[in-house]
């Protein structure tokens, strides 16, 4: 991980309430990988906390992130223009591992679709088969639909209200298509109720497929020092740090 000042190349709306920002790194950063994140300043002196945002795409000297406007900080970020500088630490966290798996199910809900997209981009043309189950609130929130379709063996986009695709959430879509996909690995990111439904659903069906989830938590330092973003290890009186030990955890490893 490195502390860098990055230069914004583009920062524009991607879907309702969601922006995509691509920025240039002043030097190559080692260890960029799908599932990792950046901790980025919103660019004014009054917001002292950086925003931890998943990497959506990267090259050796650029990174693309997609973020939802949730408050004053992300609103300030969305007003930044090409050429503006922001400070950040990157790459952070552990990321996804696909070792030993050829057929991979990706389950993403809301802004949780972006880490899933980072997996597709990283493994583009590398022979793995991806089955994507992607959920959004409604049609206005749908984004990257073409990308998910072209990079996956099959991709189903669903919405909570049925205004785009079937009326379902990403987990319901996954369980409907799981038999056909026959995944050897499941990766998921999205709201906690979605991840809980996935955990329960896998247990109920007795599906014994290695499953990894990417968690979100309010963070302080973003590098593992301050112990702000913790969650409890399942069955143990012990915490893990979302920023450093995660954000990706085996689904049974932690309570959420």
């Amino acid at each position: 991980m490195k502390e860098l000042t990055v230069k914004i190349l583009e920062n524009a709306p991607l879907a309702a309430g969601v922006y995509r920002m691509r920025f240039a790194l002043p030097e190559k950063a080692e260890g960029l990988a799908c599932g990792k994140f950046v901790n980025i300043s919103v660019g004014d002196g009054a917001h002292l906390l950086r925003r931890p945002i998943a990497i959506c795409e990267y090259t050796e000297d650029t990174v693309t992130i997609c973020y939802q406007i949730k408050g004053e900080g992300t609103r300030l970020m969305s007003a930044k223009k090409a050429g503006d500088l922001l400070s950040c630490a990157l790459p952070l966290g552990n990321g996804f591992s696909l070792e030993g798996a050829e057929r991979v199910a990706l389950i993403g809900g809301g802004v949780g679709v972006f880490p899933m997209y980072s997996v597709l981009k990283e493994y583009e043309g590398k022979g793995k088969k991806f089955f994507s189950f992607i959920g959004f609130r409604n049609k206005g929130a749908v984004c990257l639909a073409d990308g998910f379709a072209s990079l996956s063996e099959s991709a189903e986009i669903v919405t909570d209200d049925g205004s785009f695709g079937r009326k379902a959430n990403a987990v319901e879509a996954f369980f409907a298509g799981a038999e056909k996909a026959a995944p050897e690995r499941i990766l998921a990111c999205g709201p906690l109720p979605m991840l809980r439904a996935l955990k329960t659903g896998l247990a109920e069906r007795g599906m014994d497929v290695p499953c990894y989830v990417s968690l979100e938590e309010r963070m302080g330092c973003g590098i593992g020092a301050c112990l702000v973003c913790v969650c409890k290890k399942s069955g143990k009186e012990e915490n893990v740090r979302v920023c450093k030990d995660g954000p990706v955890f085996e689904i049974g490893e932690v309570d959420f």
């Binding site: 917001h47 002292l48 950086r50 302080g220 973003g222 593992g224 112990l227 973003c229 012990e238």
Partner: protein, 304 residues
């Protein structure tokens, strides 16, 4: 190159910039970004005799120019620290300041005894606002400040004792004097101010703990005023903190009377904040023809 070395109650700091407790862990993570050997010292995450899991999440929230935290003293316990973390900090040739907390006078004495002769300095946390038994009870009244300081001091034969003072009190100068009377070798201040942020949609506080400790750039004027008040009242050295972001911020504290400073929240905004403060302090002193940072201490000239 100005002289930045400071003698702090017998502990040599290679410069007056110390990482504040709770923001820096035990140094290993920040050392992946920069060599923490450039710092004057590190105050560890608050240690207790037994491991603690801390508060539920969210543990952090933001206000304008401030943050609030309610971590609640999560730590692996002093024995794990001694076994797994002290050696690393020592290897960086920096002052290792063990921040300690407890529930009872015996806890404080016990943990001090464990660390005596091992840490370079003890920082007695009697002012954590985020746990019911984090010592805040000891930090409010001057009588109990004196009592807990005495208990800790009696367990220390080698390592000097620094008492960290709470700003959430009637008179921080009176409490500073109480700590000095209790045998403190030094003081650090200020700990966080107690605050609250509310999510107006949910009508709930943003922090799971409801209230938390306010820190960051916005509290600096309060901290400078309190450091000045305390330095005017006591004879022992003071480590000042509260909202330091730049070298100039740090120098304000030194002019107000602090011998050294701690930097906390700024580490979250910029992981290189502290090495930048060390470099900036050196530049400022050179530009002003001041050969030694110690010359600047307590040089405040009041108006009127």
């Amino acid at each position: 190159m100005a002289e930045l070395k400071v003698d702090f109650c017998g502990v040599t700091l290679k410069n007056p910039v110390v990482a504040a407790s709770g923001t820096f862990g035990f140094g290993k993570e920040f050392n992946e970004i920069f060599d923490i050997g450039v710092l004057g010292g590190v105050s560890t995450k608050g240690l207790t005799l037994e491991p603690r899991l801390g508060n539920p999440t969210p543990r952090i929230a933001e206000g304008r120019s401030v943050i609030l935290n309610a971590v609640g003293l999560q730590n692996p316990g002093v024995d794990v620290f001694l076994e797994e973390d002290l050696g690393f900090l020592k290897s960086k040739k920096i002052a290792v300041i063990a921040n300690v907390a407890g529930r009872t006078l015996d806890d404080y004495a016990g943990i001090c005894a464990r660390l005596d002769g091992k840490a370079d300095l003890i920082e007695l946390n009697i002012s954590c606002p985020n746990v019911k038994c984090g010592g805040m009870a000891f930090g409010i009244r001057p009588e109990s400040v004196k009592e807990v300081t005495k208990a800790a001091k009696s367990a220390l034969k080698k390592t000097p004792l620094m008492v960290k003072l709470s700003p959430n009190v009637e008179s921080i100068a009176v409490n500073a004097l109480a700590a000095q009377e209790g045998g403190a070798d030094a003081l650090s201040l200020i700990n966080t101010l107690t605050g609250m942020v509310i999510d107006i949609e949910k009508r709930r506080p943003l922090l799971a703990n409801n209230t938390g400790g306010v820190s960051g750039a916005g509290i600096k004027p309060i901290a400078v005023r309190m450091v000045w008040e305390v330095c005017s009242a006591v004879d022992i050295p003071v480590m000042g903190m509260g909202g330091i972001v730049t070298a100039e911020d740090a120098l304000e504290f030194i002019i107000a009377g602090a011998a050294a400073v701690q930097v906390g929240t700024a580490n979250f905004t910029d992981t290189l904040a502290m090495p930048k403060i060390v470099a900036g302090m050196n530049e400022w002193l050179d530009a002003h023809g001041i050969a030694d940072v110690n010359e600047l201490r307590g040089t405040l000239r009041l108006n009127g």
